[in-house]
């Protein structure tokens, strides 16, 4: 579902690039806050050490848990990249691949999940020409932001009623459909092709790909989830 350059109107591409940068910046700030902690530094008064702490200044440092979380993010990103490489056949000469939004968001949370998927998309675009450079914003919005946030909150909402595997499967299916929907809207509004035509075709193909996404995501979360969901 990686949009190449040329499918989107330049205004659409640059607008989405700006939106993706802003959202990603916010997500990165949230992740940085989660992996670091403020360590107070004692500033002793010039009048004498006996006064002890008279003011507290702090600086953010990476915690041990934070370091583990960063490495965990790296592992999840590697898994998503690898599984995305494995295109599986779908009907009538079409293939599909994992998006991975639910996998990342359930394991790491939606903010870290969006960052992880964005890193994968940037590497795919820069090193493998999989997805355009100008279309990178659109791809980040569709797969990383909608894939992580949209589906994560579907997952959270469903968890009240259903068991884990069903929630993951439904959220994963929706992550593909929602990403395909967004992709179709972007292409349609760019004037590349009629919105109604591209919308119908994208949703039809991705409804099937979403079933595989659901199955793969359930499997991956079973294998890689460290413990009980928090």
């Amino acid at each position: 579902m990686h949009i190449p350059d040329g499918f989107l109107d330049p205004k659409m591409s640059s607008g989405l690039l700006g939106a993706a940068a802003a959202i990603l910046g916010y997500c990165l700030a949230k992740v940085m806050r989660a992996v670091t902690a403020v360590v107070p530094q004692r500033v002793l008064a010039a009048v004498g050490n006996s006064l002890g702490n008279v003011s507290m200044a702090g600086r953010r440092v990476l915690t041990k848990v934070g370091e583990e979380k960063l490495l965990q993010m790296g592992t999840v990103a590697s898994i998503i990249f690898a599984v995305q490489m494995f295109n599986f056949p779908v009907n009538s000469g079409t293939s599909g691949h994992l998006v991975g939004g639910v996998f990342a968001a359930v394991l790491l949370g939606p903010f870290a999940g969006a960052v992880v998927l964005s890193v994968v998309l940037v590497v795919q675009s820069l090193f493998f020409a999989d997805g355009g450079l100008m279309a990178l914003g659109a791809n980040i919005i569709n797969m990383a932001v909608i894939g992580s946030f949209g589906s994560y909150y579907i997952y959270v909402g469903l968890k009240i009623q259903f068991n884990e595997a069903i929630c993951v499967a439904i959220a994963a299916w929706f992550s593909v459909i929602l990403a395909a929907f967004a992709c179709a809207v972007e292409i349609g509004l760019s004037g590349t092709i009629g919105l109604r035509d591209v919308f119908a075709a994208m949703v039809k193909v991705h409804a099937v790909i979403g079933i595989a996404e659901a199955a793969i995501t359930v499997f991956l979360i079973r294998v890689f989830r460290p413990g009980e969901p928090s």
Partner: protein, 94 residues
Amino acid sequence: MKKGLPFSIAVVVLAGAFASQNPDGLEKVAEILGFAGKATNRWAIMFAYRIHFLGTTKFSAILAGICGVGIIYGLFWVCAGVFSRLAGKKSTVA
């Protein structure tokens, strides 16, 4: 999570050997609706998940995939290392 990297490498090897070469969902839609030609290709060091000098062999795809896994994991590993160093003596705050 420790099995994550070996798992990624294993998947990349399988993908290099067995992944479908059919167009993906968006590519297929673009073909059917006739706007596939609007896509502009550009050069990339591992274009189409292949190492240039190894051609389009399966080995080339596997090696490109392993490079991708290495680049992605390496980015996070370097970030963790740099932040630890910047912090000087690492905090033990959990």
